[in-house]
């Protein structure tokens, strides 16, 4: 029943927008969504009636979904989707919007993620995150995904002989990248000593292993090359994509994600290999998840991550520039927008309009998403290989 992925001809990704994050905001998710559209409009000249498609992702727009946002912000799309998959939502948005544009169901789709962070938002999101977490995770001491990831991290460290110093190298490289990003929330360099000695959160996780929740919004446009040209927008092509949910449910503790199931399909359809990748924007709620993606997406063998981390320079000028805006670990996690910032940063690097420093070679990039710790593991995974197209 296996089918070959058809190419994404006639689809362009463009106009990446990031609304600068704030640690706390008394504005609503709707306000942040509107702010992203405003910025998008100033950038592209597009007005509400110009968008005939929308995808929306958010954790804090309750009780509204994409429907509420459409009416709230005055859109009149003929195609609409709501993607509630957090860290995997940006990758999934690309896949869905691309096929809709290709099939002619819509021609200009805005993919939009917005989340606010009130003083008590994070607690409310946790309280209502999922039924399994209400029944079987949240009452076990946590008040958040930290404990779940702590268990996974501890288990992975024992299984593959990985040390805190190894994970620290990822966090430190991302912080170095964040220093050139003027809107990253973390602005100070991070040393290995600071990383190791940071406040303990849940063994073996310490403060700099965990993302900082914040408010923010991200958006990008999926359209045809012709329309993008008329609008004068630089474009990026899609070379191949994968998506998988609830993979390897037989693993007692998660040490791999859905990517591992579909990795060959990704590189086959993208006509590419990991060593041809110029930069990677991998979902990074915890360093463990970055490590897992590096293995599962084929940069190194499972179990060889320690050596790979130690021989690779992940900074902007390094051999594998990784999370060049600092990622969520250093720029902040704006709820579901955290699942879009990897997309917008990848697009910006590809069209050479970065927030901070530009990667020297940024032709082919990898975007990867990971979302929704529904119970004891992340359920949703996906990845996209992109390539710079027209730079205008």
């Amino acid at each position: 029943m296996r089918s070959t992925q058809k190419p994404y001809d006639g689809v362009s990704l463009c106009a990446p927008i990031t609304v600068p994050y704030e640690r706390f905001s008394f504005e609503t998710a709707h306000w942040w969504a509107g702010e992203a559209l405003k910025k998008l409009s100033l950038e592209t000249g597009l007005m509400p009636n110009d968008f005939d498609g929308i995808i929306f992702s958010s954790f804090s727009a309750n009780p509204d979904t994409a429907v509420g946002i459409v009416q709230h912000l005055g859109l009149c799309p003929k195609w609409m989707d709501h993607i509630p998959t957090g860290g995997a939502s940006g990758v999934m948005a690309i896949r869905r919007a691309a096929r809709a544009v290709q099939a002619g169901d819509a021609s200009i789709i805005v993919c939009l993620a917005a989340d606010t962070n009130h003083i008590d938002s994070f607690q409310k999101t946790l309280d209502n995150f999922s039924r399994f977490s209400q029944d079987a995770t949240y009452p076990y001491g946590q008040g958040g995904p930290n404990a779940t990831f702590a268990i996974m991290t501890g288990s992975y460290m024992r299984q593959f002989n990985v040390s805190r110093e190894d994970f620290g190298k990822i966090a430190i490289a991302q912080r170095a990248n964040a220093l050139s990003n003027p809107i990253a929330l973390m602005k100070k360099p991070l040393s290995i000593k600071q990383y190791i000695e940071a406040k303990p959160i849940a063994d073996p996780l310490h403060l700099f292993d965990c993302v900082m929740p914040c408010a923010g919004a991200e958006a990008f446009v999926v359209t045809t090359p012709d329309i993008a040209e008329k609008l004068g927008l630089s474009t990026v092509k899609i070379r191949g994509t994968i998506e998988r949910h609830n993979a390897f449910s037989e693993d007692t503790i998660q040490y791999r994600g859905g990517w591992a199931k579909d990795i060959d399909d990704l590189w086959t359809s993208a006509k590419c290999t990991p060593d041809k990748i110029d930069f990677a924007q991998l979902y990074d709620d915890y360093p463990l998840i970055v490590a897992m993606q590096l293995e599962d997406l084929g940069f190194c063998e499972k179990g060889k991550i320690k050596e790979f981390i130690n021989k690779t320079d992940f900074t902007i000028t390094g051999d594998l520039p990784l999370n060049t805006n600092g990622g969520q670990l250093s720029a902040g996690q704006a709820g579901a927008a955290g699942g879009y910032q990897n997309v917008t940063e990848a697009l910006r690097q590809a069209i050479k309009q970065p927030l901070g420093h530009q990667i020297p070679n940024s032709s082919i990039g990898l975007i990867s998403g990971f979302g929704m710790v529904n119970y004891d593991r992340g359920v949703c995974t996906g990845a996209v290989v992109i390539e710079a197209d027209n730079i205008r």
């Binding site: 994070f122 607690q123 946790l126 309280d127 039924r131 399994f132 209400q134 029944d135 079987a136 995770t137 949240y138 009452p139 076990y140 001491g141 946590q142 008040g143 958040g144 930290n146 404990a147 779940t148 702590a150 268990i151 996974m152 501890g154 288990s155 024992r158 406040k199 303990p200 959160i201 849940a202 063994d203 073996p204 996780l205 449910s249 007692t252 503790i253 119970y375 004891d376």
Partner: protein, 412 residues
């Protein structure tokens, strides 16, 4: 190895007690069903009718074949795969209790589950899984060591789920009857610090008074359960230093509804079995619940002893059964009311006692000591509902299977 508890320090009256916090209580209906099994001390998982695989967390259909799921007793055995010690949390309850250790257990039956961990368990150890009820009455998996150690019950995390009498100050509401007296002795054996024994008339002699008075840990205090003023006054004086209340009030007289019973006996029975409970709860529960978050000396539970005939009625003990039914109803309401306060409510369902008031009933009957031991066991295990004796066990089982049939089966 768990270190034995030390005697709690005397409380500094100038220090404000920590506010009682309870765990988040939002649960699915399936999880609520799990808590019913937990309240009886059973370990259950959902098993599929069609493919017979067991599953966790609670679901509404089988994830392997979409068959219907039923809660079934399962092997308690598992192994600890991985753990973490939580040192920072946004949750107010756990903020009071961190560091707090949890882990992933691989159960012999297949599923993995997060569980609270007893301090003696290390990664790779075999464990015995229990479903406990947390302070808000929700089900919580708790892993205990495969081999019990000497002071296992003293484990800090485990004690948050039990009401073990060790170091507690206990009020026994009626200390004049044989149940109360037997309980006082068993509680002291179980390490209780002080027993306040309710005495409805301080001047009136009663059997057993002398041996009780000789024990320095037992203090007879005035408490007339038939008099609201007396209960209120005692609560004001002693409520601040009581951690556990056990209501031993019990009125029983043989008699049927139409032929042999008297209406005055029904009235007396209601006053002692029902109104006394209400007086006690009104006077003591607010004070106790305000101290349920105290770190050194938390108030932990309200325990009620009630006849198992509360479930079915008994034709020859009609008044006692009727008042016991009302009493059980009150205690069920109280349990729900106390969910947000962190104070646990225990019910001990007992069968006919081997004494002068149960001469009409055939054996097996229970001794006062047996009743007292069951109370202690329930508190140690944190088991909300327990039965004492084979009659009570049998009736509860029948009632669970078919309440109407259980009523029909009661014969004089």
């Amino acid at each position: 190895m768990t270190k034995p508890l030390t005697t709690p320090k005397k409380k500094n009256p100038l220090v404000k007690s920590e506010i009682a916090q309870v765990l988040p209580a939002i649960r699915s209906r399936a999880a609520l069903a799990m808590s019913c099994h937990a309240s009886l001390g059973n370990f259950v998982l959902q098993v599929c009718d069609d493919c017979h695989s067991s599953t966790y967390p609670p679901r509404d259909r089988c994830p392997k074949c979409w068959g219907e799921l039923k809660w079934k007793p399962q092997k308690r055995v598992g192994v600890l795969l991985a753990d973490t010690t939580i040192r920072s949390t946004n949750n107010l309850y756990f903020q009071q209790h961190i560091p707090w250790r949890i882990g992933t257990i691989l159960l012999d039956e297949g599923p993995t589950a997060f569980a609270h961990l007893h301090g003696d368990i290390k990664i790779g150890d075999e464990i015995v899984m229990n479903i406990m009820l947390d302070r808000s009455g929700a089900p919580a998996l708790f892993a205990l060591p495969r081999k019990a150690s000497l002071h296992m019950e003293d484990d800090y995390q485990y004690r948050q789920f039990t009401a073990s009498p060790k170091n507690r100050r206990v009020l026994i509401s009626d200390g004049r009857n044989k149940i109360g007296q037997a309980l006082a002795k068993e509680l002291i054996n179980a390490g209780a610090e002080t027993i306040y024994l309710g005495n409805s008339d301080m001047n009136l002699f009663f059997d057993g008074k002398e041996s009780l008075s000789q024990n320095p840990k037992i203090k007879l205090i005035p408490l007339n359960l038939l008099n609201t003023e007396s209960v209120t006054k005692t609560a004001k004086q002693y409520g601040g230093k009581i951690d556990l209340i056990i209501n031993t009030a019990y009125h029983v007289r043989p008699g049927s509804v139409a032929f042999s019973g008297k209406i005055t006996e029904l009235q007396n029975s209601l006053d002692i079995n029902v109104n006394a409970l209400s007086r006690l709860a009104k006077a003591f529960c607010p004070t106790l619940s305000s101290r349920s978050g105290d770190k050194e000396r938390p108030a932990v539970a309200f325990v009620d002893l009630v006849s198992v005939f509360s479930l079915t009625g008994h034709p020859s003990y009609a008044s006692m059964s009727a008042s016991s039914a009302a009493r059980l109803s009150l205690i069920n309401s109280l349990r729900t009311e106390m969910k947000t306060t962190g104070l646990k409510v225990y019910s001990i369902l007992f069968g006919p006692i081997d004494d002068e008031w149960h001469q009409e009933i055939l054996p097996p009957k229970i001794s006062h000591k047996q009743l007292a031991s069951t109370v202690i066991e329930s508190l140690k295990k944190g088991q909300e509902i327990s039965t004492v004796g084979n009659v009570a066990k049998d009736i509860l089982l029948r009632w669970q299977l078919d309440p109407l049939l259980a009523i029909k089966e009661m014969s004089p």
